[in-house]
């Protein structure tokens, strides 16, 4: 195994984030995501899950700390195609937008193709492959607005996969997807991780799903509450900590430092 010597796909070192003068959304996060990991992020609403994803994607800049993507500082990281992203809202996307499944999936090749260049045969091949893999090829000429939530989710995964990413990040992927489709969806994610060696990070507020699907779990409530195997850390104590009365965790042993 070379995994030990390889640099982690994503590495956060002491990352904090706050909007202007407001209280911090994220505080002192330090963790790594290794190649081939299948990480589930849980935490209460407003606990900073989506903010964390946006920071990793470079949509927001951390107030403090550093982020390395594939061993490179995120400020210098230009190979955006190596990370695929499926935002939460895609299941509720604007229904009137005139775009076919093919057009949406093809837009995933833009990061790889580069500014002003036209799409090539390689791009079209990658689009066909991703549509076959996700089972949306038969909808190629359908408008995305006319698909169900679950079908649209697959279109956006196909879009993310067209650039052959090494990491796939999904924000609440099954919100707005019916139960039957959820099961097939997680089987599909699992096969991407297992057979295609894709590092997967997904956010969910559903603890049961995360502890069933993910290989490792990261619990986030402004701070890193825990990070490890689901069997070891997902228990009643944790759930109370995350979702119970104390919505914001208090680091007891640091309390007196400020006054000292």
């Amino acid at each position: 195994m070379t995994e030990k010597t390889e640099k982690p796909d994503i590495k956060l070192d002491n990352v904090s984030f706050s909007y202007q003068s407001e209280s911090p959304v994220l505080e002192n996060l330090t963790f790594s995501v290794n190649k081939g990991d299948y990480l589930g992020i849980i935490g209460p609403n407003g606990g900073g899950k989506t903010t964390l994803i946006k920071i990793i994607l470079g949509l927001l800049r951390p107030t403090n700390g550093t982020i390395e993507l594939f061993g490179k500082d995120s400020y210098d990281f230009k190979e955006k195609y190596r990370i695929g992203y499926v935002p939460q809202r895609v299941t509720q996307a604007d229904k009137s937008f005139p775009a076919t499944v093919f057009e949406v999936v093809r837009s995933g090749r833009i990061a790889k193709r580069g500014f002003l260049n036209r799409f090539t045969k390689d791009d079209i091949e990658a689009v066909e492959k991703a549509m076959d893999l996700t089972g949306v090829a038969r909808y190629r000429n359908t408008l995305v607005g006319n698909l169900s939530g679950g079908e649209r989710q697959r279109v956006f995964i196909a879009r993310a996969l067209t650039s052959n990413p090494e990491v796939l990040i999904l924000d609440e992927p099954t919100v707005g997807v019916d139960i039957g489709a959820q099961k097939t969806f997680y089987e599909f994610l699992n096969s991407l991780n297992r057979d295609h060696h894709l590092t997967i990070i997904f956010i969910s507020h559903d603890v049961e799903t995360i502890s069933r699907e993910a290989k490792t779990v990261l619990c986030l409530n402004h701070e890193l509450v825990c990070h490890g195997f689901p069997g070891d850390i997902v228990n009643e104590h944790l759930l109370e900590h995350l979702y119970g009365d104390h919505l914001r965790s208090e680091p007891i042993n640091h309390q007196h430092h400020h006054h000292a």
Binding site: K80, Y85, P98, A99, T100, E103, S107, R118
Partner: protein, 257 residues
């Protein structure tokens, strides 16, 4: 008539191309706002005795930058920025008109569009800038599509979303300023929007919808200009009425649920 026809065809192609991006971003009022800014620009041009199309372009491009930066600053709520510029520039135009009595008749032709007033220099300015706008859209097509479809995803993929947003409004500003001679201030918004929403009724993808929008727009311009010439009608009104007829027909064949 031939000059008006050539300028009209150039406008008929670029108006719906720009309009497409404005409509899908729910920014349809932008065209009308820029048209009113252009009108203020025309008034300034006539007052200072420079080519009013040039002054209209300059003022509407400046306004485009102003609108984008105010919207990014988030100090003003949503579309009210457009209302601000729309009424503000009309006020500027009206004040200039009252200061300089005498060019009212000339100015009137800019409100509703006129084909008899297109000069050779107008035609050249129109053709050169229309080709520039057309090429910019062709070159930036995949980026503009993606930014309009999902700005955050586009940014995550490394696209310069802010620059592309400014590009769209600047291209819109130039197109509107070019169009008011033929179509008129009060009706250019319609030429940018109606062919696009008609084409969207057909339920096709982005590119196909855009091609249909251009086809509908060209039909409207050509039929409208003929009608305007033979029946002595205001060209803008005639063009927009044809566009409206096409829209009604498209509703009958609508494939949207």
């Amino acid at each position: 008539m031939l000059r008006a026809f050539e300028a009209g065809i150039a406008i008929g192609i670029i108006a719906p191309l720009i309009g497409m991006f404005l409509v899908v971003r729910r920014y349809s009022l932008m065209a009308d706002t820029l048209a009113h800014v252009s009108f203020a620009g025309v008034a300034v041009g006539l007052f200072l005795q420079i080519n009013p199309i040039i002054s209209a372009i300059i003022l509407s491009v400046l306004a485009a930058f102003g609108i984008e930066s105010l919207q990014n600053g988030r100090k003003i709520f949503g579309e009210s920025v457009l209302a601000l510029f729309l009424s503000g520039s009309l006020a500027v135009a009206v004040v200039i008109i009252s200061l300089a009595k005498g060019f009212n008749a000339n100015l009137f032709s800019y409100l509703f569009g006129s084909i008899s007033t297109v000069s050779t220099s107008d035609l050249w300015v129109t053709l050169v800038l229309a080709i520039t706008v057309f090429l910019a859209i062709v070159l930036l097509f995949k980026e503009l599509f993606f930014t309009s479809f999902d700005a955050e995803l586009a940014q995550a993929n490394g696209l310069p979303v802010k620059v592309l947003n400014i590009a769209i409004v600047v291209l819109a500003a130039v197109s509107v300023a070019l169009s008011i001679r033929i179509v008129g201030v009060l009706l250019i918004g319609a030429l940018m929007v109606i062919p696009v929403i008609s084409a969207m009724q057909l339920g096709k993808g982005f590119r196909t919808t855009m091609i249909f929008a251009v086809a509908f727009s060209l039909c409207s311009v050509i039929i409208g200009l003929f009608a305007s010439y033979y029946f002595n009608l205001a060209s803008g009104g005639a063009i927009v009425l044809v566009a409206l007829c096409i829209f009604l027909i498209s509703l009958v064949f609508s494939k949207r649920s």
